[in-house]
């Protein structure tokens, strides 16, 4: 019953991460961008030169992360939220890919090929807010449905007026 995310989490180990980052760096250059099957981004062009971004995006994200958390700087340009909002779009069937289980996810597509392990998305949203909100609502409904028999039974017991 374990979700794929936790399987990924098993793999994350700081030493491996460093090793993999170093090894992965070299393969970034070797990527054939046409081989990546991801839905087109929303915007016209990236906030930085794409070539530069491909190699350095983790530096910008890392810098921005500390600026935001510690100093409250919320510029959009280098924020992870901005990356996700632009790059994670619906495919032809209207679905949004998830980092943990699809190579259609912009970040995952490359990280999988380059064998990079990150744990950003164990906490951060891997899809735009409206998609997540919808998913939350759905899972809340599912949970309610799954518990409906139990809930109604408890309600019945609790709400029955005492004579």
């Amino acid at each position: 019953m374990r979700r794929p995310l936790s399987k990924l989490a098993v793999l994350k180990h700081s030493l491996t991460l460093i090793l993999v980052l170093i090894l992965g760096m070299s393969s970034v250059y070797a990527l054939d961008e046409h081989a990546i099957n991801v839905p087109a981004p929303k915007g016209e062009e990236c906030v930085e030169d794409p070539e530069w971004m491909r190699v350095n995006h983790f530096k910008t994200v890392l810098n921005h992360r500390d600026d935001t958390v510690i100093r409250g700087i919320r510029t959009e340009k280098h924020s992870l939220k901005n990356c996700i909002d632009c790059h994670i779009t619906a495919n032809e069937s209207g679905d949004y890919a998830r980092y943990s289980n699809s190579e259609e996810h912009f970040c995952a597509s490359c990280h999988t090929t380059a064998a990079v392990t990150i744990d950003c998305f164990s906490c951060h949203a891997d899809r735009p807010e409206h998609v997540i909100r919808a998913a939350r609502q759905q899972s809340q409904l599912d949970a309610l449905k799954a518990n409906s028999v139990h809930v109604s039974a408890t309600k019945l017991i609790l709400n029955t007026p005492q004579p």
């Binding site: 500390d66 510029t75 939220k81 906490c123 998913a135």
Partner: protein
Amino acid sequence: MNDINKKYTLLNKSDVNANQGVNQGKRTFIGGLVGASGLAVAPGVMLYQTAAAKPLEQAVSSAVRWGMLVNVNQCAEDCDDCVTACNDEHGLWPKEGSTTDSQWIRKLTVKDPSTGNAKSLPMMCQHCENPPCVDVCPTGASFKREDGIVLVNMHTCIGCRYCMMACPYKARSFVHETLENQLPDSPRGKGCVESCNMCVNKIDAGDNTTACAEACSKTGHEAITFGDLNDPESDISTQLKAHGGNQIRADLGLNTGVRYQGL
């Protein structure tokens, strides 16, 4: 003249803070910038502007101290809209009766056993000026932002839970299991400690309120006032000046940013 004096104490305070934290150099620099512009413009106006809407690229400064005032007399016993709003804002979903799910804000019933008098109030992180959680955190992940908001930097939190041992308000929760569908503005995950962040995401966006305060107004109870404690003209400061406000466990000398009236 008084205002200018105040400006100076604020400046000094920001410098003191800068020496304690990370990014020392940068912070002192920012502090200087804020101070310089503050001296150039009329002090009161400048303070108000900082409080109202900070430009996105500007770092937070200690010229502001965010706080909340809870009027317990206006807080309805059977209402928990603030809790629901918080859960919705930050993507929490505590199951009833769960001992492990996170609760950033909760309704607390306080009953005086000698008189039987009971009151209901919201309890959350009190955003202390001298937070015990920050003192005990081995890695400095638990920290106080320049504007007085106490936060967990989840990138450096190792999940030791010492802050939970130290907090006198039981304000913190530990994420006990893998989470799904976290919201973009409230990243949270397994193995880290978390608590009320006074809706930093909303404050930084210039909303000038928190989810709980907003929800409370919507019900018409108006029991939670959010604002800048450093600005004598702010709603929260005028209310505090007129009617006072207690700190919970004031004996501990933590100087909380959340105050209560009618206890």
